[in-house]
């Protein structure tokens, strides 16, 4: 009898725990909260970060091109703004070229971009253009790398699978976009966007980005040990032209204590040593 009571109590506790676990998922989390959390996890984790990136671009004939670069990122004081560097290591003809961006999250405010050409010792200011253009000739777009402003789309929680929220995002200015809408699959536990499918008007998917490997990276945040979920292998497939690009992230580090002074012409011309190791 006592045993049965215990068992019932235990089941009750379990159910209560399960209900509590379900609660934030199904009721208290609005679609905006999910989208905000996912955006945070995908692009703003930690105060700053560093990673080495190996990129392989494969065209439909199977020919490949490789890019290798370091990315250095820092969240700015203005919420949503960021600064980052891309230091190219390969191929040989772009080696030592550096790309610096001051990203502005405000709608209507263009990012500031600079490119350093070492052979000419030239700091070129780049007119911030269409964010949906190819990033270094790959199938990734600038927007995939730096993030898309949340206010640019309306968001709808389409459905939930066992492990994901499926969010439908429709651009507010559809005429200027190369897609009609896109679906984002957000992992329920880590809030990492694991898959993004872009659709044309006829509901045909034509572009798919997937996070194929997610690792928990150890870091220190305000003196505490934390783990940040991080996509360390991402691929994008262009279903129309048959090309694909894979990005593999290694040597990922968070909260290095990068200062704002780093993201200036000085370090554009000559990278900080700690960043390249």
């Amino acid at each position: 009898m006592k045993c049965l009571m215990t068992a019932i109590a235990a089941i009750g506790l379990l159910l209560a725990a399960e209900a509590a676990a379900l609660d934030p998922n199904s009721r208290t989390l609005t679609v905006d909260e999910i989208v905000n959390k996912a955006n945070q996890v995908a692009y703003y984790q930690g105060k700053d970060g560093k990673s080495k990136v190996q990129m392989t671009i494969t065209d439909k004939q199977g020919r490949t091109r490789n890019r290798e670069f370091f990315i250095l990122r820092k969240n700015a004081e203005v919420v949503g703004d960021q600064k980052y560097f891309v230091y190219f290591q390969a191929p040989a003809d772009v080696r030592r070229m550096v790309f610096m961006v001051h990203k502005h999250a405000d709608e209507g405010q263009d990012d500031d971009r600079w490119l350093y050409l070492p052979n000419l010792d030239l700091v070129r200011r780049i007119a911030a253009g269409d964010k949906r253009t190819s990033f270094v000739g790959s199938d990734f777009l600038y927007e995939d790398v730096s993030g898309r402003g949340l206010a640019e789309d309306t968001h709808e929680l389409l459905r939930m699978t066992d492990d994901s929220y499926v969010i439908k995002n429709v651009p507010k200015k559809p005429d200027t976009m190369d897609f009609a809408y896109y679906l984002v699959y957000v992992d329920k536990t880590t809030f990492m966007p694991t898959k993004m499918e872009y659709y044309e008007k006829d509901d045909k998917p034509y572009r798919v980005i997937e996070s194929q490997k997610i690792e928990m990276i150890n870091a220190t945040e305000d003196g505490k040990e934390v783990q940040y979920p991080t996509a360390t292998r991402s691929t994008v497939k262009d279903l129309k032209n048959g090309s694909a690009t894979e990005m593999v992230f290694s040597e990922v580090q968070y909260n290095l204590g990068l200062s704002d002074d780093l993201f200036t012409e000085r370090y554009l011309k000559r990278p900080p040593r700690e960043a390249m190791r």
Binding site: A92, I126, A128, V136, E265
Partner: protein, 424 residues
């Protein structure tokens, strides 16, 4: 027992000393350097004139080039060596062009130092320069070498100091580094003494200031970034970088020059706007009365660049050179020499289009002078066939009404060229 312990100690000592002994031959001064990184390219480039030029060869450029660079670093400093081995069929000579040989260090949080042979650039113009008085290689630019070769190296020390109020760059060049100017060897040019175009028949002979530490140059830039508007003040004391005067015996000279200027660059609308100006004080002839020395000048530049469509960038610039003692110049000018206008205006237009996943770059850069009635067109095509192999083809087209104006004098040098490059 003692012997055993002693033996053991000796063994331990030996063990400990083994790595020391083994390491000793390698523990040289070179251990403080990181493994050197070697890169470079091999290139074959050829080009021909499209007009007959009585004073030059038909080929405008014909060369093979091997560039090698090695870089390494220690805890305190970075080192780089970069040089080009060149087989040049236009001059029928082999050549070695040391492009870079420098040491870089960050001795304090607020200071960078770079000493040695280096490429230096500042200012806001696109293929137009006012406050950038570092050497240019106009020959390379006009005959169709890669645009990277427009900048010639300086043998200089650059000290940069970074502060809250502003940043400052000071470049000291102990021995004057002139442009690689038009000599008549690669390119025909207008010769005032002959009153016609000339080339291999009349090389430009120069009297170049070359005393170490006396014929030196100092260039300074004070700059600050305010909300990503980049503001700068410049100062320079040295010499006109290309011949700007003549001795009575007909030798070209590099008269004294001081330049004071300013620039601004930043976002305007959806593009980037830039403005720059400079006062060129021709210090050897401030009155402007000496017809053999360049007048003092004001130079102005405004520009705007915008991405007008996906992977299509357009840029426009307007540039003015204004002689400050035009009356004195006119009065002193020998009657046989065609006179300049007081103002020279130049407009430039750039269109750059990226295609085929940014592996094909088409570009058109045009200089047009409404005052001189001449123009210079630079169409280029660059195709990256693989990560290592690229093809380049392009042209340098000059035309104009009078043979003595800046671009028109090069009319017979108009050329098309092509190149293949393997990078590693």
């Amino acid at each position: 027992m003692i012997a055993k312990i002693t033996g053991c100690l000796i063994f331990i000592a030996l063990l400990q000393s083994v790595p020391v002994v083994a390491a000793e031959p390698e523990a040289s001064v070179f251990d403080v350097f990181s493994a050197p990184q070697i890169h470079g390219f091999y290139e074959v480039r050829g080009g021909y004139r499209i007009h007959n030029d009585p004073y030059e060869k038909d080929m405008s450029v014909m060369e093979t080039r091997l560039e090698l660079e090695a870089s390494t670093s220690t805890e305190q400093a970075d080192f780089k060596l970069k040089g080009d081995l060149l087989g040049d069929l236009v001059t029928e000579q082999g050549d070695f062009d040391l492009r870079e040989a420098w040491v870089f260090a960050r001795p304090t949080d607020a200071m960078d130092i770079k000493v040695g042979r280096q490429i230096l650039t500042w200012g806001t113009g696109d293929l137009l320069f006012i406050n950038d008085l570092f050497p240019k290689d106009w020959q390379a630019f006009f005959i169709g070498r890669n645009t990277d070769y427009l900048k010639a190296p300086s043998d200089a020390a650059k000290v940069s100091i970074f502060g809250e109020a502003a940043n400052i760059d000071i470049v000291y060049t102990p021995q004057f580094d002139p442009d690689r100017y038009i000599t008549g060897e690669y390119l025909s040019y207008w010769n005032n003494d002959l009153g016609r175009r000339a080339g291999r028949d009349a090389y430009v002979h120069t009297d170049r200031p070359n005393d170490w530490f006396r014929d030196d140059e100092v260039a300074v830039r004070l700059y600050k970034n305010i909300n990503n508007y980049e503001l700068a003040l410049y100062g320079y004391t040295g010499f006109w970088k290309s011949p700007a005067g003549q001795t009575l015996t007909g030798e070209a000279t590099f008269p004294d020059l001081n330049v004071y200027g300013a620039s601004a660059r930043g976002q305007l609308g959806s593009g980037i706007a830039n403005a720059e100006m400079g006062y060129y004080q021709s210090a050897d002839d401030e009155s402007g009365k000496n017809p053999l020395i360049n007048n003092s000048e004001m130079r102005y530049l405004v520009g705007y660049t915008q991405e007008v469509a996906t992977d299509l960038t357009a840029g426009v610039q307007y540039y003015i050179e204004q002689m400050l003692n035009y009356g004195a110049y006119k009065d002193a000018l020998p009657p046989t020499v065609p006179s300049r206008d007081r103002d020279r205006h130049v407009a430039t237009f750039r269109l750059t289009k990226l295609l085929m996943n940014q592996n094909l770059q088409l570009s058109m850069f045009t200089y047009y002078s409404p005052t001189d009635n001449d123009a210079y067109l630079r169409p280029t095509l660059l195709y990256k066939a693989t990560d290592n192999l690229s093809f380049e083809t392009g042209a340098n087209i000059f035309f104009g009404q009078s043979p003595h104006t800046f671009f028109a004098q090069f009319e017979n040098n108009s050329n098309i060229y092509t190149a293949i490059r393997y990078s590693f």
